[in-house]
Amino acid sequence: MADDFTLSDAGAGALLLDVAVGGAFDETRQARLLGLAASLGGIDGVEDVVPGMNNLMVAFDPLTVDASVMERRLAEGWRSAVARAETGRSHDIAVVYGGPDIEDFAAGLGVSIDEVVERHAGAVYRVAAIGAMPGFPYLSGLDRALAAPRRAVPRQGVPKGAVIVGGGQAGIMPITAPSGWHILGHTDFTLFDPHRATPATLAAGDVVRFTIAGVRW
């Protein structure tokens, strides 16, 4: 159903619109969500419009924006939302495959490391959302054969530039930070620069392809 969604409070100054159905990420609904997000910029009192994976958080000044009015706006906006017309930019990201996890990761899936590399570099990814860490892209489009549960114990310091996968998602670490995802390689691609007006290099809706710059482990 087109109007399957829930709306909830995130404090007095934010609302979360969740359009996920059955826990699985849906590319079409995400495109509509990004269309809705684009239509919400520039509203008085709205501070942040934050696309997530099949959800959208809108933060506002609760003293100038009436939450129930915003709630209606989001509900109606979602029902009438159309996929954003313009496609995002395309990025080719060079990866040296390898690192501490790739051998166990391949073994766990019962495939060779070469197959992991080929399947990871063979897919076309879409930036579903940017978040968690500065400039971190949530990438959809991972080859289903590479979907594996996250590590039971997260690594404390997954290095900046690590090319990672977790569950059905792919990503790249913009800073060194803890993560439970598996490291498949490394890139020097700059995801975030606080000195730029638009600090994140990637944006929701962009297309990402990984290229094989080398394989060593």
Binding site: A10, G11, D18, A20, G23, E47, A132, M133
Partner: protein, 319 residues
């Protein structure tokens, strides 16, 4: 116009009201953990609302003024000495060139704010002067303050503080640190068992040692989710109370990740977030569920208090 840090810990940092509009780039709000104390310090001096101050979370802290400037100290209750004079809590005074300011460990609360005339005048980054300690940008070189750091001061506002200085009465709710944190229900509230929902609102939760500018882990009974399902990643705000698989809540704070995937049982209302900024490990806290109206009324009350402080102090500044 400079202040020199004489003694500091890495947890002390330059903070302002934080960043807005960049959550969708993964940029946390950051900013003062006790925004009311920060705004009050700036109001006492007639500073711009967006002026940056020093957030002190590691004590003792000592600095020296190389030029005369008004200074305000707010937040946690801690002994503060300006040269030979003792500063009462939430007080502002004129510092003379060469004066040293010393802040002792607090007797109540966790964080002290030191504002100076014109604010700490570092170049804004991504719209704010706040330090993001986790990501390492903003403030002074993207890091906590240390001995020998020199911070430039902005232009002090017109007028001088009267002899003896001026002070603020405690803001709303400040006289009782033991009041519960008011929360609004969040997306997954109904997915928790009836017992868990009841426990959430009746337990005295203990703050663990894992408490910093990113968030604060609580110790108490396990909150069981009746309906278990994986959530897709979604935007979160400071104040979000997540319940990871361990069943022990985490309250996300100023430097929290901008997206998360754990179920959310509730959100601490904006007007009460300062309580977490002033909470220490081993402190006990309670939650009380309220509605939107009360959350808004509480914010209005704080805003009105700050506005009154601002206009009252303007009357006292002598030209």
């Amino acid at each position: 116009m400079v202040i020199e840090i004489l003694s500091s810990g890495a947890l002390n940092s330059v903070q302002d009201r934080g960043r807005r509009g960049l959550l969708s780039s993964g940029v946390s709000r950051s900013g003062a953990m006790d925004l009311v104390a920060l705004e009050a310090a700036n109001a006492l001096l007639g500073n711009d609302r967006d002026a940056a101050a020093i957030e002190v979370a590691a004590f003792p802290f000592r600095l020296r003024f190389e030029a005369a400037t008004p200074v305000a100290v707010t937040g946690a209750v801690a002994e503060a000495r300006l040269a030979s004079r003792r500063l009462s809590p939430w007080w502002a005074m004129e510092a003379q060139a060469g004066d040293e300011l010393t802040i002792a460990p607090p007797t109540t609360g966790a964080r002290v704010y030191i504002a100076v005339g014109g604010g700490v005048d570092l170049p804004p980054l991504l719209g704010a002067r706040a330090t993001d300690l986790k990501s390492g940008y903003g403030g002074h070189e993207g890091r906590g303050l240390r001995r020998g750091d020199r911070l430039p001061l902005g232009r002090r506002p017109a007028g001088r503080l009267p002899e003896g200085g001026i002070g603020a009465l405690p803001p709303p709710g400040r006289s009782d640190f033991a009041l519960p944190l008011r929360v609004l229900l969040a997306a997954e509230w109904m997915e928790f068992s009836e017992e868990a929902r009841d426990l959430f609102a009746t337990t005295g939760w203990r703050i663990t040692a894992e408490a910093d500018r990113q968030g604060c882990r609580l110790e108490g009974p396990e909150l069981v989710r009746a309906r278990r399902r994986e959530l897709l990643s979604h935007g979160i705000v400071p104040g979000t109370v997540q319940v990871p698989p361990s069943g022990r809540p985490i309250v996300q704070l100023a430097e929290a990740n901008t997206c998360g995937g754990y179920p959310k049982i509730a959100t601490v209302i904006e007007a009460d977030l300062w309580r977490l900024g002033q909470a220490m490990p081993d402190d006990e806290l309670r939650f009380a569920v309220v509605g939107r109206d009360e959350a808004q009324a509480a914010l209005r009350e704080t805003a009105a208090w700050l506005a009154r402080l601002r206009s009252a102090t303007a009357l006292y500044r002598v030209s």
